[in-house]
Amino acid sequence: MARLSRRDFLKTGAISSFTLLNGCQPLFGKAASKAHVVVVGGGFGGATAAKYIRYFDPTIRVTLIEPKAKYITCPASNWLFAGLTTLDQLSVNYQGLKNYGIEVVCDTVIQINAEQRRLTLSSQQTLNYDRLVLSPGIDFRWDSLHGFNQALSQRFPHAWQAGPQTELLNQQLQAMPNNGTVLICAPPDPYRCPPGPYERASMMAYWLKQHKPWAKIIILDPKRSFSKQALFEAGWKQHYGYGSENSLIEWISLADNQLVSLDAERKTLTTEFGDRFSGDVLNIIPPQTAGKIAIESGLSNSSGWCPIQPISAESSLLPFIHVIGDAGHYAPIPKSAFAANSEAKACALAIVSLLNQQAISSPAWMNTCYSLITPDHGISVANGYQVNADNSITAIKSAGGISQKTDPASLALEAIYTQSAYLNLRTDCFD
């Protein structure tokens, strides 16, 4: 019996779904389910879940709720600081998903009634669901630094959700004095995109080296170490004088002497033991939690993230709600767009199995994460992840890790792969 091949699905989208309903047999079960899955959040996780549920079973009705008409990707947004991309080039719309027969509703969910399996949107419209996929991304904890608050993020941008914040930080970088200082306040674990602050420093340094070579970037880190540290430090040494007096980048671990307050007028940060750091540009990336709707709906625990059952991505706290992406507690899988896509596919398979009353197969997650140190110097980290009998998630031991080949040709090749991987991931999620 012919089944929908991935190629056919990609080629013909909604048209093939229609054909399937009337003719061929879908991958899972007969064309009888007619269940309704609502996906909340149109980032990498939500978009992938919506698309792949339709791919696995085109008889399932899928609605995606997302307030923004276009989405600006966080991945690759650091490249803007090096002048390698624009917000326009980072933008995707939802036409690709609509072509698969996904109903895209441009609105915000204000309430989830888990008992009645019903959502209320800001327009007061209500939607019933059989299964809900929540992919709300992150929110910030604004109370971690005395003297700092949400309003001040307009002066000290986090730029950790790509868009106007990214543009604002870039404008500040370009406008600062030629010998100015940028302070990047990295967040504590766990947070979206573990190598992000360090790729950001690299991309800013790339631009500063050409335009303000007397400037300096200081990364103030609440952690003792960071993602791909050896590779970043080697790259910084090679390109930005890291470790020398005139280094463009300095990394300071404040693990035993955390930042406690901000003097907004003086643009000065103070630590527990009274050390002060002043800058011209302050990129304060606050500690993070699951997105607001997940917290308000009772899907998070004291960690601020949403516990899930790994096999199905279903919430450990509320039934029929599946949480994927940065908001979910999938540790040790890092909070990356690639991982969100991987979690979304496993979740889509599980939901389709559940709706067709079939056994759920064991998820096989993966993460690959590339970063640029210069446009021609790329590095990566990768691994596969598995669920164990005790319901824990672990990295597969025999594999993974950071780039092993660090000769110039391999690093240049990884830089090229960085850009291709970003564009292809985007296509896999949104088109």
Binding site: G29, T368, A382, G384, Y417, L423, N424, L425, T427, D431
Partner: protein, 97 residues
């Protein structure tokens, strides 16, 4: 009666769709390949689409990555995560796409 038919048809379909656990696992792993190896790759993509290759060729390529028989940056680290049987199942799934 209706319910019975439904259950029976589910049973038949599941055995028809999935011959073995290995095949299932192959799909779950292989879905991750498309993140980078998109069937509709970006213009000038340095990462190839995997469409149009035989199971044998895909399997050999993955085994070569796993056992460091080929010069590559990222794939050896990924291929080492999977048993030879899983790699075979991944290749089988990909070759049918």
């Amino acid at each position: 009666m209706k319910l019975w038919l439904l259950i029976a048809s589910f049973g038949m379909l599941s055995s028809a769709s999935f011959n073995s656990y290995a095949e299932l696992n192959g799909q779950n792993i292989a879905l991750n390949c498309f993140n980078c190896h998109n069937p509709k790759p970006a213009a000038n993509s340095a990462i190839p689409s995997l469409t149009g290759y035989s199971q044998q060729r895909l399997q050999q390529a993955l085994l070569d990555f796993k056992y460091d028989k080929t010069n590559a940056t990222l794939m050896p680290r990924i291929a080492k995560a999977y048993s030879d049987a899983e790699i075979s199942a991944v290749a089988a799934y990909l070759s049918q796409q």
